[in-house]
Symmetry: C2
Subunit: 349 residues, 2 copies
């Protein structure tokens, strides 16, 4: 078992990675009032396991999927917390993928101005990315993660045992964030290329997950609230989120891959990186996403990108671009110019 | 003009106290996108002034009063923020009393995981207490401030000019928190007694407000999230909030005064303070609240106290009690015992 510390200013977190991580809960939180939030899929697949890991804890089950990441579900979780008469010293356990982590995390942040929070991510995406770093949110007003808080979990338990029930779509989703980390960090990138044959091997992926978490822990400790270094983690995400809002259907990770692909052209043509580096980014994307789909009316997605949290001026779209191995830059493009680039996704390139 | 620094871990605040504080806004935030949240009373009384102080800023007006401090109003403010396409670097101005400060503060905390926040308190209560320290919330599920966040404003502008339009009820409300600070801090208590003839003089009160803010700034810097020293600020509040939820009508400050009165008997009889100190607390309360009203069925309020955020165990009520001048203690009482004490408010004592 590896233990990774995330030393943020607001509250330090400990991430336990490896076989048996979930069982650490009973040891770390003996005698605490626990309250589990999970989704219908996890509740069905792991009914008996939940009872073993969190005996006596009330379990709040919400519908699975990004569509339930909204205001109504958030307040249903809060209602269940009030009904259970939780206190600030109660421990909210977010057991699930990114959607559960985001919503249960926000509910924990808001209930009585904050209870204790433990993330138990069950998807590769949540293990490599969303469960670490304290971002919590719901989608609102047509914007991804529009209403939320930075709220650090005390503990994250990344147990590979949960990954065996993941459908391939979910594995690919997590791989999107793994590749993103590989583009941001030269050493992880090299490891990825060396072991590219093993990217469908789940036990190898959970080893890579620990590398990704270690990288993210370093970034988040430096810049918890995304005003500096943390912006690097948005690579591919401006375009990815806009496509996700416009088209739905595919997974978050796949949209991030497509976003990184498109944004490599932007970086190249706007002079942020060399053509060779842009090609390296696209080749890395192709390890998992060899074919970029065609999106009808992709230019229209500019309206979603304009609402993105990462923008800092009206009428302009902020993008985090890969400038070289281990290097990145934030660039603001006018809406018109960005729409032209989105046009590349309409095919005929 | 006095400038008081509140050095919390999450974000330092500066409090400007004195004539002309509100005008500092244009100097401190020149060139920023501002967005004003206020209530119908303030909007009516200060329509022209708002235009002068915050030119070009959209103004979101919500209904006045504690009853509007709910989920619907919170999301109406968020809707207006999305409609105005605010960014994280936009500045939300909470212009009003405690209700506006709490709700606009929470909206600022949640929008895109946090925008910049400036508190411009217009009531004595908000100036001496709620605008400083970063507590934000809405009432929910029958519990005061049940859903909220700790979110520090960058700047607080306490301008006595706003106090001249306050109805007497609101002045008394603020005095409740001033007296609470006087009981917690020996020097402020002494000053209060020496100047007890001047407690209806608004310009003297704004001088006292600066003393109260300086005291609170010290406490909040030591313990931002209310796990230690900050609990002293809850003096009178467990009983005060329970009565407020059960009976409404009177102001928050008046309920806090009544709470301190009742809790002085609890402190005395539970051996937390001497009878002489308990009498001193009651005499201080009487400076502003010479007569304690009779509450029918006061014992029934125990159910509200049991839901209080400050409790840490089920079936018990946590109270912050004054143990001596400048001294305090948290005591947990069983629900039955606390209900017996509440019975003293039913008259016939």
């Amino acid at each position: 078992m590896q233990i990774i510390e995330v030393n943020t200013k607001s509250r330090p977190s400990k991430v336990y990675c490896g076989e048996g991580a979930a069982e650490k809960f009973s040891e770390l939180y003996a005698g605490c009032d626990a309250f589990v939030v999970t989704d219908a899929n996890v509740a069905r697949l792991y009914a008996a396991r939940i009872g073993e890991l969190f005996p006596h804890a009330p379990v709040c089950v919400v519908p699975a999927g990004e569509r339930s990441k909204n205001r109504n579900t958030l307040f249903k979780i809060l209602d269940a917390m009030f009904a259970a008469q939780l206190h600030r010293s109660s421990v909210v356990v977010a057991l699930g993928g990114g959607v559960i982590g985001d919503m249960a995390g926000l509910a924990a942040a808001l209930y009585m101005r904050g209870t204790r929070l433990v993330q138990v991510p069950t998807t590769l995406l949540a293990q490599v990315d969303s469960s670490v770093g304290g971002k919590t949110a719901i989608d609102y007003a047509g914007v991804k993660n529009a209403v939320g808080a930075f709220y650090q979990p005390e503990t994250v338990l990344c147990d590979p045992a949960f990954l065996h029930t993941l459908p391939p779509r979910e594995v690919k989703c997590g791989l999107g964030e793994v590749l993103k980390t590989g583009i941001l960090d030269a050493a992880i990138g090299e490891k990825l290329w060396e072991s590219r044959e093993r990217l469908s091997d789940l036990s190898y992926l959970s080893e890579l997950a620990a590398d990704c978490i270690r990288f993210k822990a370093r970034i988040v400790a430096e810049d918890e609230r995304e005003s500096g270094a943390r912006r690097c983690l948005n690579l591919g995400h401006t375009t990815g989120h806009a496509l996700e809002l416009a088209y739905g259907r595919r997974s978050h990770g796949e949209y991030v891959l497509i976003g990184m692909w498109l944004e490599s052209f932007i970086a190249e043509r706007e002079g942020v990186c060399t053509p060779a580096h842009a090609q390296y980014v696209r080749d890395t994307v192709a390890l998992v996403q060899p074919r970029i789909p065609v999106f009808k009316d992709a230019r229209a997605c500019v309206k979603y990108a304009l609402l993105d949290k990462k923008n800092s001026a009206r009428g302009a779209v902020s993008l985090t671009l890969s400038a070289g191995k281990g290097e990145w830059k934030v660039l603001a493009l006018s809406a018109e110019k960005y729409a032209d680039y989105l046009g590349m996704l309409e095919g005929g390139r």
